[in-house]
Symmetry: C3
């Protein structure tokens, strides 16, 4: 959908990495390159696991909804692939009441877990149980796709009343927002219990083209970032458990104005909070520069989560990591040249942000 | 009013371009430079059309309100100047109910067009007719100066009720906002019909100094940009006709935080939407750098509208275009040096953004 | 609390400046450096006044609340130190009704000044009197720490009703906000009278960690910047007295998105408004670059207030000024290299922003 230059960088890199094609893609070369790709696609070194080997991918994670039966992961478990491939607990299907199927989903959630999700403690138990199941399939993290970063910390009686309303199907947009906000805090509390790393992907307005939505359904594009308020948004969650040593909260950000204003000071203060890598539109050379420029001085290098990406384009993964490494090194080199960092300290930071930071952030190995 | 450095760049460039003066302006040289200018002003090569010739200006546009009789353009039509000089349809006088004269203006609009503007279809017909008249005087575009980017898409019965309220003079600020929002969508629908390029200049809070306002009246300064929400703001308009091939929407932006967060993703998605050049306070070297940095990776080079400016200072036009060309070339040169773009691709983009992009954006020639 | 790199720059600079230690601080060198510091601390050249001498500090200001008895300043007056050391009038203790002790504080304010602060004119007289007292202890400025930049300009009857409510202790958060907003305008009006420079430090959300607050009390950390609206916020104050030649208003900013969008245009327009130096999280190399990049072209160099900082870490003061001077010179050098500024003009600006600008901004000497 996007005509931006990063995708061009990734295409060139992928053509070379996967197919050995170094001819630049152009109207003149397109047919020939197409044929070369078509010829090569059936070869065994282009099977997914072979590509992961070639790209030195140690761990790759999928995300599944709470109701997902994890059949593929069961099969991968039997093949001994779990560990290198891991699921991630993304319970948006049972935490977001703006979904038309929310009541049905909550009923399935009850059936799947045997918990009575019409009581708040039962609902939390159902999550507790699914998180445990997901961990058997390698899950080390949860993921939460939310329109904004609002969190809440209600009294039990309020939570139960809210749940009753959702289950009766009589909730409005304000109730849905409050339920999502409360569920983020509940997920953080469960992370305090079980140590799963909590990822929040906030701030996208989804499905903004009614024509696309009518033709193809939800979550297929026209997603536009919105201003996001992390300071007030996360206040309830962090006030409740932000100092817990077992909590690790990774923020993925689309509103770059919050880097220096909110997230870097918050990551500097809260031991649980780390800033995730530049995400989506900002997973690009200029995007990474703006990110480092705005977060490092206040948050420090060691409150960053290193780099990962959430692409579905398998072949672009090496290119994306390569861009990150180059930009980190470029940033550090400028600081060395300005005598703001010694070459040896910069080398340590470069190694850390290129590789170890992501493993540390996700508590791997 | 502003003591910024861009104006200094423009002054130096203009003194040289128009008067051949290369002495830097300073307290010591001011009187002498004043005398040189005064002596030269009467010479024929400083008449407006001679300046346009010397600056190689192919097309220059004025903007007139919907009620403007276009007398000057009638005269220019008779002189064969229309085409090089073009009017632009800027109907703020009949679309903005916050103007004290709005009821009177709508009555004049009715008298001028013979349409019954007290019915919604009549009001739209009056616009349709004036747009056609403006096109006879070279208009290829409309322009809309609005405090924010809010749009609406109401049902006819709601639109008629709103119009009734405006015409009765009993509207409040909320009604005025809704009317402006609806009129933007109506203008987009008329652009779908007639192909006129739609320009939105949004996000300035006007007349913020009551002393200046009391002494000199409206629209004479103290205009301060405000945070502007393009994502939610344009949603109604784009949802209604954003996929129409005949719609071309150019956004002029004062809130730079929206470049990367909202406008670049939106320009990447919507075929009708282009990002206009850096505007007003941002029509400057650093402003252009921030603009390119934040829009290009997501929107691509070819969703930008090239460069124009809305200065009233005729002699600063060559300087402004020169700054744009230099900054574009500087930006591309950095990408070449970083091996992110080939020299030949960069040359194509440089030529495009320096010249052809603006003609393409306005569908000229 | 913050692991950012600026603090590292300041530590290295301070160790060298104050103790002559050039060994980089590291786990290996920490004990030895600790011992060197402990040995040196008792020596006379490390007494505060000796440090000010060594750092060539001409003037340093403290800030005291309106109710402060200024005992230390009385003692400094007797020692002839006032002038080099100056108090600053920071009346948050009697202007912020969100403080639990506000009613008691206002009663003390009455007792201290002999004014009847239950009438609005009496309240203003009490401020007028305290400002005069502070000036006897060198005060040339007032300072206002506010969560946002909202100002108000109410009619006297409304102001009195608001004051009655505050004094009855029945005010809510909205009343407290309105009182703070009105008091900013009152302080500006008193500055018009007495010429004291008005500093506004706006936009921090204080005490966001309830655990820290419970353990240690207010104003000890977890302060996170918030989006701040200067355009609408300052409108009432500036509309009332923004054109007064005697008013000087310095804005300290945590929301960098307002630099180019609001504050630079406002500083360009309003003769009373200057942009203060990069503050708090932004008092750093990258922070200063973003500041200069975004304010200079529109506001000009001469609407900036030069540099000061509000650190409590005495030994970091030389480092902070050094960073400012280096960044200003780096910024100007890039403009010289790009032929945007002559070397001699840049030298004037460098000298001005490094030294004279701060004295001019505070009307010293």
């Amino acid at each position: 959908m996007f005509a931006g230059t990063p995708s061009r960088l990734w295409i060139d890199h992928s053509l070379k990495f996967a197919f050995g094609i170094e001819t630049p893609l152009s109207p003149q070369t397109a047919d020939d390159i197409y044929n070369q790709i078509a010829t090569r696609l059936g070869e065994p070194d282009l099977l997914p696991l072979a590509i992961l080997d070639r790209a030195n991918v140690e761990v790759i994670a999928t995300t599944e909804f709470a109701l997902d039966p994890l059949h593929h992961h069961q099969s991968m478990l039997e093949q001994g692939l779990i560990g290198r491939i891991r699921t991630t607990y993304r319970p948006d299907d049972v935490t977001d009441p703006s979904r038309p199927a929310i009541v049905e989903n909550l009923q399935q959630f009850s059936a799947l877990t045997g918990e009575n999700v019409s009581s708040w403690p039962g609902l939390i138990n159902a999550h507790r149980q699914r998180r445990e199941t997901f961990r058997r399939f390698g899950a080390i993290a949860t993921d939460h796709g939310v329109p904004n970063a609002m969190t809440a910390d209600l009294a039990l009686v309020e939570k139960q009343a809210l749940l009753d309303k959702i289950l009766s199907g009589k909730h409005d947009a304000t109730d849905a927002q409050l339920f999502r906000a409360q569920m983020l805090t509940e997920m953080a509390l469960l992370s305090v219990e079980d140590g799963m790393v909590m990822q929040i992907h906030a701030g996208s307005s989804r499905n903004t083209d009614p024509l696309l939505f009518a033709e193809r359904g939800p979550d297929l594009g026209a997603d536009i970032p919105t201003p996001t308020d992390y300071g007030n948004g996360l206040r309830a969650l962090l006030g409740r458990c932000g100092n817990e040593p077992n909590l690790r909260l990774l923020m993925f950000v689309l509103d770059e104005t919050t880097y220096a204003r909110e997230l870097a000071p918050m990551a500097g203060y809260w031991p649980s909070l780390m800033i995730g890598p530049p995400w989506w539109f900002h997973d690009s050379p200029q995007g990474i520069r703006r990110y480092l420029d705005q977060v490092v001085e206040t948050a420090g290098f060691y409150n960053l989560a290193g780099f990962n990406d959430d692409t579905r384009a398998l072949l672009s993964i090496p290119a994306r990591h390569d861009v990150w490494r180059r930009e980190v090194c470029g940033f550090l080199a400028r600081w060395i040249a300005e005598h703001r960092l010694s070459a040896s300290a910069a080398r340590d930071v470069a190694v850390h942000l290129s590789y170890q930071a992501a493993k540390d952030a996700y508590r791997i190995g």
